[in-house]
């Protein structure tokens, strides 16, 4: 009967150690007599074991005698929680704090960035403003211009005062039309002005919007990073 590889290995290994029973040992020795490959296998195994047993002992790097400090009872030492158990709640708390800060900044940005009601009206009608400015100056044109005037960077006329009163000199009378030179001086300053930026009180408005944006981006990225890190730590 032919032995399986694993069974053969077990028999030969146990034979080398003298761990086989008398019957098994006799059967194996009979096979070894008639099977040269089995003898060769046994010889390789025997030499391998001899090489391992002949390994020199690893030289000691030092003595391992104990000092009283090494064996002080663990209960007398300040015991700290495993780092992971401490880190996970701390990271979750940090995520919550930064997340709330992020929401607060978003809310603050939204509240401070809301344009006044008059400006919102102007923002909804930019095309109408241009069309009317090309018409011959009349009552309608004066009213519309007055409404859009606060969005201009140019000095604003007092509310309710007709524009004609400020630009009376170039006009011959109520029937006169806007001169070609007058159109480019007003239209470019009124039409392309961004509505939100125009709502800012003065020239300091642009930097303050920028700081809001920076704060939002930084806090948003920090919130996401912390959330990802605490999820990873929890696993």
């Amino acid at each position: 009967m032919r032995l399986g590889k694993r069974k053969r290995e077990e028999l030969l290994s146990a034979y080398l150690d003298g761990e086989l029973g008398a019957d098994e040992r006799a059967r194996l020795e009979a096979r070894l007599e008639s099977d040269p490959s089995l003898r060769e296998e046994l010889d390789g195994l025997r030499r391998t074991v001899a090489l391992v047993r002949d390994l020199p002992p690893a030289p000691l790097p030092r003595n391992f005698i104990l000092s009283p400090g090494m064996v002080a009872p663990a209960r007398h030492r300040p015991r700290s929680l495993p780092r992971r158990l401490v880190a996970v709640p701390r990271m979750a708390f940090s995520t919550l704090v930064v997340g709330l800060l992020f929401v607060a900044v978003l809310l603050g940005d939204w509240l401070t960035g809301r344009p006044p009601a008059a400006v919102r009206v102007a923002v909804t009608m930019p095309q109408a403003t241009v069309v009317i400015r090309e018409m011959p100056m009349g009552e309608a044109g004066e009213e519309t211009f007055a409404a859009t005037a606060p969005t201009n960077a140019a000095p604003s006329p007092p509310e309710g005062e007709p524009l004609a009163a400020q630009t009376a000199a170039p006009y011959a009378g109520p029937t006169a039309t806007v001169t070609p030179a007058a159109t480019p001086t007003v239209a470019p300053t009124s039409t392309p002005t961004p509505p939100v930026m125009g709502a800012e009180p003065g020239p300091a408005g642009r930097p303050s919007r920028l700081w809001w944006r920076i704060a939002e981006v930084v806090l948003g990225v920090a919130t996401l990073s912390l959330a990802a890190a605490s999820l990873r730590a929890r696993r």
Binding site: E9, G44, V52, R53, L55, I65
Partner: protein
């Protein structure tokens, strides 16, 4: 003082008595750790931790072989270390720096010339690499049986597995190591080749 008296004195808190046991067994404990882990620093850590744990848990020692008690602790520590970090160190020549003959005269056999010494060192390096190529389960059993010379029953007690499992694991470990050494072929010194 015999071993039983030292253990009894150590149980009563006499550290000097326990240190006598440390001196008696530190070579075997360190050797086992080094052969399993393949790294001198990790083996030294495991050895020191083993003696500390053995002293602290001396009340749990129910008699029998104190050597088996120590080997059980160090084998478990090494096994955990291998499983935890999947430590598979490649044995470097730097690791064998401390095995220099001048630093360790005991390594030189009487009457051994420089060439034989170099061959033996090279052979030891290859065998260690072969041991480290085995899985942790096979490695621990092989080192306990063939390096430390424990019987099947003693290995079974140390590793806490049935003797039949020791038998099969040891057979597989030896066969794989033999195949590894055969695969080295020409790299081995002629008198050590298995072919």
């Amino acid at each position: 003082m015999d071993e039983a008296a030292l253990i009894s004195a150590a149980r009563q808190g006499r550290l000097d008595a326990f240190n006598d046991l440390v001196l008696a067994y530190q070579q075997q404990v360190y050797n086992l750790a080094y052969r399993i882990l393949g790294d001198p620093a990790a083996a030294a850590d495991a050895t020191q931790e083993t003696f500390i744990a053995a002293y602290r848990n001396l009340d749990r020692f129910r008699g029998g072989s104190f050597k088996s008690y120590l080997l059980r602790i160090v084998a478990n520590r090494c096994y955990d270390e291998l499983r935890r970090h999947k430590r598979r160190p490649t044995t470097s020549f730097e690791d064998f720096g401390e095995m220099d003959a001048e630093a360790n005269p005991a390594l030189v056999n009487g009457g051994e010339g420089p060439e034989e010494y170099a061959e033996r060192q090279e052979m030891a390096r290859v065998i260690q690499a072969g041991i480290e190529s085995l899985s942790p389960k096979l490695r621990v059993v092989l080192v306990l049986a063939d390096v430390e010379g424990l019987s099947y029953q003693e290995v079974a007690e140390v590793v806490n597995i049935p003797p039949g499992t020791v038998k099969s694991r040891l057979a597989r470990a030896r066969a794989r190591l033999r195949d590894y050494l055969r695969a080295q072929g020409e790299l081995l010194p002629a008198r050590y080749r298995l072919e």
